[in-house]
């Protein structure tokens, strides 16, 4: 299999997975329907990870509830446009041979992004002060 062929296959697999996920997340609410696997870290340890709440967030987004989505996982909602663009860019590369226009990020920004993800995962487990706001649904307690 050539590199171009394997890129096309991977792109097709990713796009199909996204399509299936969109349909399932539009139809079922991960907060109540038992068909989505819970976060393994949460199930084993009770701790939230940086991704916890993202399925519920995407479900809310697909129903137009930006506020509820943001409360479930602000990081997931904020990164969704960039991730979507990344997938679109990769698909353009796989099917047409060229990426979409890209911004060259300095290395320090990439490291910073990694640190933000890890810190977000840690901080949302804190139970004191204003920090529980970052746990899934925490922002909804604000009125």
């Amino acid at each position: 299999m050539t590199a171009a062929e394997s890129d096309r296959r991977l792109a097709i697999a990713l796009l199909s997975a996204v399509a299936v996920a969109v349909v399932l997340l539009r139809l079922f609410d991960p907060a109540t329907a038992g068909i989505f696997p819970p976060c393994p870290l949460r199930a084993l340890t009770g701790w939230y990870c940086p991704g916890c709440g993202s399925l519920r967030a995407f479900h809310q987004l697909l129903h137009g509830n930006l506020r509820a989505a943001f409360a479930m996982n602000p990081l997931a909602v904020l990164s969704l446009p960039f991730l979507t663009y990344g997938l679109a860019s990769y698909s353009a590369f796989a099917f047409r041979g060229h990426y979409l226009p890209r911004v060259f990020l300095p290395a320090v920004c990439i490291r910073g992004l990694g640190i933000v993800i890890v810190l977000f995962g840690i901080v949302r487990n804190f139970q004191t002060g204003f920090l529980p706001l970052l746990a899934p649904g925490g922002l909804l307690t604000l009125r």
Binding site: C49, S54, I110, R111, I117, V118, G121
Partner: protein
């Protein structure tokens, strides 16, 4: 600008959804790709790019494995409760 993929988007995805420690390794290599391109070290950037890709696949594999294990344990628990 040289066209060396840094696999940042898949690295972030696998960090959040699959396996955090190995995903972080992928992000670190993604950063290394860009810092080496900036420094003019093309061979180093290509090596970092390969490492970033490898850690993305390792994290993705680990994520799938964890979910499979989880489903299996869940099924066993269901069966043993009958």
């Amino acid at each position: 600008m040289v066209n060396i993929p840094n696999y940042l988007v898949p690295a972030i995805l696998v960090t959040v959804f699959c396996c955090l420690p190995t995903g972080i390794a992928a992000i670190v290599y993604a950063a290394q790709v860009n810092s080496k391109i900036t420094g003019g070290d093309i061979a180093g950037a290509q090596a970092a790019s390969r490492n970033a890709k490898m850690w993305c696949w390792i994290s993705g594999g680990a994520g799938v494995l964890i979910i499979l294990l989880y489903v299996m344990v869940g099924m066993l628990a269901l069966l043993s409760h009958r």
